[in-house]
Subunit: 135 residues, 2 copies
């Protein structure tokens, strides 16, 4: 899981990790910033962002985005799984239906009302797998 290792453990990094470990609220960077300032009033937003990215790269935390912070659009409005290639950045449609069953399972477990199910895969597509072989 850990892809890159963190060489130094600074007070700032520790504080950010502590804040994240002590909540299940899936906070934004700004929320983390606000809360870390409780113990480190002089920390900067830039430091928060840098550490969030480093911690994510190290596999210590996960970032909830769809690959990037900008949108992609799909002309097909029906639910279907997507595959996002981390090498060429293409997004593929996958042709299998799991959403209905997953939604039912989620509703049963949580008691919530599911209105939309999203299944996304990340990895390397066939094209990129092949070009890596040739290298």
């Amino acid at each position: 899981m850990a892809n890159k290792s963190l060489t130094r453990m600074t007070r700032q990094r520790m504080a950010i990790l502590n804040v994240l470990r002590s909540t299940t609220s899936h906070p934004t960077a700004d929320w983390v910033y606000a809360h870390v300032r409780g113990t480190l009033p002089k920390i900067s937003l830039g430091t928060v962002y840098r550490n969030l990215n480093l911690l994510r790269d190290a596999g210590e935390i996960q970032e909830l985005t769809y690959g990037s912070n900008f949108s992609r659009f799909d002309g097909n409005p029906t639910e279907h799984p997507h595959f996002h290639c981390t090498s060429c950045q293409r997004v593929y449609d996958l042709d299998f239906d799991a959403e209905t069953e997953l939604a039912q399972r989620a509703e049963k477990i949580s008691g919530f009302k599911v209105e939309r199910t999203r299944l996304e895969f990340e990895g390397v597509c066939a094209d990129c797998l092949n070009s890596k072989k040739r290298e």
Copy 2:
């Protein structure tokens, strides 16, 4: 699926929809803008954004983002489903494991290498369901 209806069908809206319907590349707003300019050179980026949002709200297309265009972070780096409440915006962890099986299924179908699986639900959480009842 269609929540809001589109009252007027302008040339711009039609062109944007055509571009989206004629590709499976899951383009960005900017890509759509560039391609629509082939037929409507004077269209503005603002119009593209406005129409993408309207078409999404009408259920004609879907937007691939994680609810918003900014990140949320999870102190738990292991794969697990999330539930995003569209009413209170909270993000919940869901406690069931489907990712491993789904990843295998996706690999079998696509021939791609899956490195990460993401399962996200959108809907209304128990708290919000209850407060709606009381209204």
